[in-house]
């Protein structure tokens, strides 16, 4: 029987009521008394030297408060990077300065050069046209391999080259991997690109800042997935504002997908300018600005080699990847192609020897950072695609080849430094084959053929590392922060509960699912519980939401704090019932004494905590509020089998996704409906990447896909009805809820399944030379592949 409340129930998303009725309170809804508006003047060239900026005419324009340039930011720090990678020679990465406003040079189209602050946005825009900027264009650095050649133009003159780092993982295995590949029965090689993407959250970024000169307190309202992290990065590294003088609020946020993790120049600018001009300053990104200033995702160029014995047992894997960093290092950028990518290269397979080489490269493009999945989609894509190609070359069914190599014993220590706690890959594969009616495929393919269409089926089995992350581990890997999470459970006198979590909800439904957990533990109605997030002024230090970590890390912190509440409440109940604490049981919101009919209600205990007339004051403090910080012992490892069925129109190359099935193991499930929604969203984004999305630059470094006229978002009619299942459950062994996380899976597992399905369709139609097509699989590319 499905439950109607608590863990396991499909409770309706309570936040949707305000979102769907237009009552959400987003950052752009915040307007402060007397606010001025900031308009950013951005570079329209990819690379150039700034000779001069003349703001004098603009300063005199109506409504103008001030025009800012880099000169106003002398002594102010650059936008910091939160991760320092050490390369394979033991040297730390090259880390350029990222000024708030361009200093001397512009390095990508969209790089902010100057900002007009005025009474209205239109006055700011008018004045911006009067700012005279003289730039000498330089040759843009765009192609990563060319960027690393001797004598290449440099993005940053003060660095020795365009190489951020050359990372080897695990470096000690390099020779052994080379030797295994050399001596192998068969080696399958695949070269591919993982296309650059723009995150495109529905809500563009916004920042509104104010400064209170009577107290020296700053407040920044911003579209962030992690307001505490912004407070730390901006306060400590950019503006030198101590935490107690800076409050960062991220109210309702309309989607993030990674792009709202990072600390951006615009946030620092508004906070700085609010003090400088003595009035609140607001900036709202236009969609065009978002395309050229929100961090992009992916953009890897990879060669992968898989060595096998004659039975298709995987012997060794070697990868060589160039990862685009863009012009500056965004907050987490260096960690994405390394620790969130190299560590996942084992996939679901017991390949004994793995070596991953990643060269991170600076180019004159928008900075690249985490985007839904972050590193793991790149790992999964190349691995699952090379396995598919290997199956074809070896003449082994791709499902059978995967099964032969599946890890079956847990815990399993991979050769790439992580230990999977649980999983059952055969179970998810079995489930997928059943869900997708794999047995009936040939019949359907014959039907398509009759209609002049080419049908194909593609499969992918993924693993991801979520619930990031053990702080001591990531510290060794170069993280400049810990990755715990916090929760404060505040039980009010009448028994209602406010939970302050460091996780941030920007669409995930935490206000519903987190309340379900606490309700379940205490036995009160979900409606009695409010989840409060997104305000450094209200909750303890938290690390925010990304990497499918909210329920696994934030939820665990909340469980720990709730356990403390229950322990204390039991002490109070024991006192009230004059019983021994060890005999107290909590069930359905009432405390009982085991073996008796004595009982006190939850509300009686909470009232006693705040009106402690009859209370064990000598043993415990009054009040009922507890905080817990939870630092995970390991990552969590969701996994799953994805199957995609497509039809290709041989005349036009158009791909139609007919069916998509996803069999996931997310460990225990708190709210099945929300989980399903997360998978749907992830699949839409993954299919979007594979089929239509493409962030492209021309040879001058101009963004070709800088608007929705040229950047294709997946639409409802591009997608089939999804068939999702998460009944294959191997609970996580090291967090209290046994949960693994589900936010990114869909985006990770779907691209290789789709590409393999198209390749399958073409192969079946006799295009046996088509072994791969680079994403996105637009009609012109598929047609060109068929023609070649």
């Amino acid at each position: 029987m499905p439950k109607d409340e608590g863990i396991g129930a499909s409770s309706k998303r309570r936040e949707d009521l305000r979102f769907l009725t237009g009552k959400g309170k987003y950052t752009d809804d915040i307007n402060l008394q007397g606010q001025a508006y900031a308009y950013f003047i951005r570079s329209d060239v990819a690379h150039g030297t700034i000779n001069s900026i003349d703001t004098s005419a603009a300063e005199k324009m109506p409504g103008v408060e001030k025009v800012f340039t880099a000169a106003d930011f002398e002594g102010v720090g650059g936008v910091p990077c939160g991760w320092q990678v050490t390369d394979r020679f033991g040297e730390v990465m090259q880390e350029p300065k990222h000024p708030v406003l361009a200093e001397g040079k512009v390095r990508h189209v969209g790089d902010p050069i100057a900002v007009v602050v005025a009474d209205s946005l239109s006055e700011a825009r008018d004045a911006a046209e009067a700012v005279e900027i003289d730039i000498t264009e330089l040759e843009p650095v765009l192609n990563m391999k060319d960027a690393l050649k001797d004598g290449a133009t440099k993005v940053h003159d003060d660095l020795t080259s365009n190489l951020c780092y050359d990372w080897g993982f695990v470096e000690e295995n390099r020779d052994a991997v080379d030797a295994a590949i050399k001596g192998a029965h068969h080696v399958t090689t695949l070269e591919l690109k993982n296309n650059r993407l723009v995150a495109n959250p529905m809500e563009p970024r916004v920042a509104v800042a104010e400064f209170d000169s009577s107290t020296d307190d700053y407040t920044l309202y911003t579209t962030s997935q992690n307001p505490h992290v912004i407070r730390l990065l901006m306060g400590a590294f950019v503006l030198g504002i101590p935490e107690h003088k800076l409050r960062v609020v991220a109210p309702d946020v309309g989607g993030g997908f990674g792009a709202k993790i990072y600390h951006y120049a615009e946030e620092a600018f508004c906070t700085f300018a609010a003090k400088a001009v003595g009035r609140p300053v607001k900036w709202t990104s236009s969609r065009s600005e978002a395309f050229m200033s929100d961090a992009h995702g992916r953009d890897h160029v990879t060669k992968i080699e898989l060595a096998m014995d004659k039975d298709g047992q995987f012997l060794a894997l070697r990868t060589d990847t160039h990862a685009n960093m863009g012009a500056y290092l965004s907050t987490f950028a260096p960690s994405i192609p390394t620790w969130l990518h190299g560590t996942l290269m084992a996939g679901n397979y017991k390949t004994p020897l793995i070596y991953v080489n990643v060269k991170a490269v600076f180019t004159n493009t928008v900075p690249v950072d985490a985007y839904r999945g972050a590193g793991r989609p790149e790992a999964t894509f190349q691995l699952e695609r090379v396995v598919d190609k290997a199956a074809r070359e070896m003449g082994i069914d791709p499902i059978e080849l995967r099964r032969r190599n599946f890890i079956t014993e847990f815990p399993y220590a991979t050769p790439v430094a992580v230990e999977y706690d649980t999983g059952d890959y055969h179970a998810t594969m079995d489930k997928l084959l059943e869900m997708s009616d794999h047995a009936g495929f040939e019949k359907r393919a014959a039907e398509s053929k009759k209609n002049g269409k080419l049908r194909g089926f593609g499969i992918a089995h993924y693993i991801e590392a979520c619930g990031i992350a053990p702080s001591n581990l990531v510290g060794q890997l170069g993280a400049r922060a810990g990755l715990y999470e916090s929760a404060t459970v505040r039980v009010n006198a009448t028994g209602s509960i406010s939970v302050m979590t460091g996780s941030h909800s920007h669409g995930q439904g935490h206000e519903t699912s987190f309340a379900q957990v606490v309700a379940d533990m205490i036995g009160v109605d979900e409606a009695q519980i409010d989840i409060i997030h997104g305000d450094t002024g209200r909750g303890p230090m938290g690390m925010g939401t990304y990497g499918s970590r909210s329920i696994a890390v934030g939820g665990s912190a909340m469980v720990r704090a709730t356990e403390k509440i229950i322990n204390k409440a039991k002490k109070i109940a024991a006192h009230l019932m004059e019983a021994s604490e060890g005999d107290i049981e909590l069930k359905d919101g009432a405390f009982t004494v085991a073996g008796t009919d004595k009982s006190v209600a939850w509300g009686d205990v909470t009232l006693a905590a705040y009106v402690p007339h009859n209370y064990p004051l000598e043993d415990i403090e009054p009040g009922l509020e507890e905080t817990a910080f939870y630092d995970p012992a390991n990552f969590t490892y969701p996994s799953g089998a994805y199957g995609c069925e497509v039809e290709v129109d041989p005349e036009t190359g158009k791909v139609t996704v007919l069916a998509f099935s996803a069999a996931d193991d997310f460990g225990n499930i708190i709210n099945p409906m929300i989980v399903e929604g997360q998978v749907h969203g992830g699949l839409a984004q993954g299919i979007g990447q594979a089929l239509v999305e493409n962030c492209a630059y021309d040879e001058n470094g101009q963004l070709l896909s800088g608007s929705y006229m040229d950047y294709t978002m997946p639409r409802a009619d591009d997608l089939p009805m999804f068939n999702v299942d998460h009944s294959s459950i191997t609970p996580c062994t090291h967090n209290p809820l046994g949960v693994k996380g589900c936010g990114e899976a869909g985006a990770i597992g779907s691209p290789p399944a789709l590409v393999s399905a198209v390749v399958d369709a073409l192969q079946r139609a006799g295009h046996t030379d088509v072994t791969h097509i680079d994403m996105p699989l637009t009609p012109d590319r598929v047609w060109a592949a068929m023609k070649s």
Partner: protein, 262 residues
């Protein structure tokens, strides 16, 4: 957007007069012009709105049986009309409902976007573009990407379409904008077949004469199958497709339009 004034004239004559002013520009449905203004890519000081001119809104037939569509008639009305199925089908696939409720045939033809749909219908039907000053044959009207025979301040008041025996428009969408990557309009008249192609050429909408000849002799998909696709030279080559791909699609879409023609 820069500041501008808006004028709502009561007659075509008043509209023409208002358009004679310094930096005045006609406003149809605003579906192209307003986004352009928002990006500050144009700076008219006066917009002269045509949408409310009853003289320019509506659909009727003239004595010659031609379908006459007022220049300010929105796409949704043409889509609903149905007396010229190929044309109504085309209009029903322009943009989304909001665009079809606002955007007008006059605005579309005046703009002459190389990927727009209506130019294919007008050229493919041998339509007549009626302005406040004259009548222009479609064959003379389209003069390259965003270029037309219209003079400064001249407005399209009406478009007259001879109704063919059979017609169809096949649009292969550019995936992002969903304008035509290649759109082919085929119309079969008693005196021959016209085939007009939009989206493909750097020169804007054009007639594929080889197909017209073949189809005039034999109006069937087989007749198209026997043709070579037009050359990819001079075809648009961009993020969404090469010139060769577009040329190939011209042939495929022509065949499909013939098969679907009613």
């Amino acid at each position: 957007m820069y500041d501008f004034d808006i004028e709502k004239p009561g007659s075509i004559a008043d509209a023409v007069k208002a358009l004679g002013g310094e930096e005045a520009q006609a406003l149809g449905g605003g579906q192209t012009l307003i986004p352009t203004l928002k990006q500050r890519l144009a700076s008219p000081t006066m917009l002269v709105s045509l949408a409310g001119l009853s003289e320019m809104v509506g659909i009727c037939k003239d004595d010659a049986g031609r379908l006459c569509i007022g220049g300010a008639t929105p796409h949704v009305a043409v889509a609903a009309d149905g007396s010229y199925p190929g044309l109504s089908g085309l209009a029903s696939h322009i943009g989304d409902p909001a665009v079809r409720n606002r955007g007008t045939i006059g605005g579309s033809l005046a703009n002459n976007d190389p990927s727009a749909c209506y130019p294919a219908a007008a050229l493919g039907s041998g339509a007549t573009i009626v302005t406040n000053a004259r009548e222009i044959a479609a064959d003379d009207y389209f003069q390259g990407m965003f270029e037309t025979a219209l003079n400064e301040g001249e407005i399209i008041t009406e478009v007259k379409f001879p109704i063919p025996e059979a017609s169809n428009y096949q649009k292969f969408v550019q995936p992002a904008s969903r304008f035509a990557l290649v759109g082919v309009f085929v119309a079969k008249y008693a005196d021959g077949v016209r085939v007009a192609v939009t989206g493909a050429s750097e020169g804007g909408v054009f007639r594929w004469t080889a197909a017209e000849e073949a189809l005039s002799a034999n109006f069937s998909a087989d007749a198209v199958a026997g043709l070579d696709a037009p050359s990819g030279d001079g075809m648009i080559n961009d993020l969404h497709g090469s010139g060769d791909y577009r040329a190939h699609l011209v042939k495929v879409m022509t065949g499909r339009a013939v098969s679907a023609a009613t």
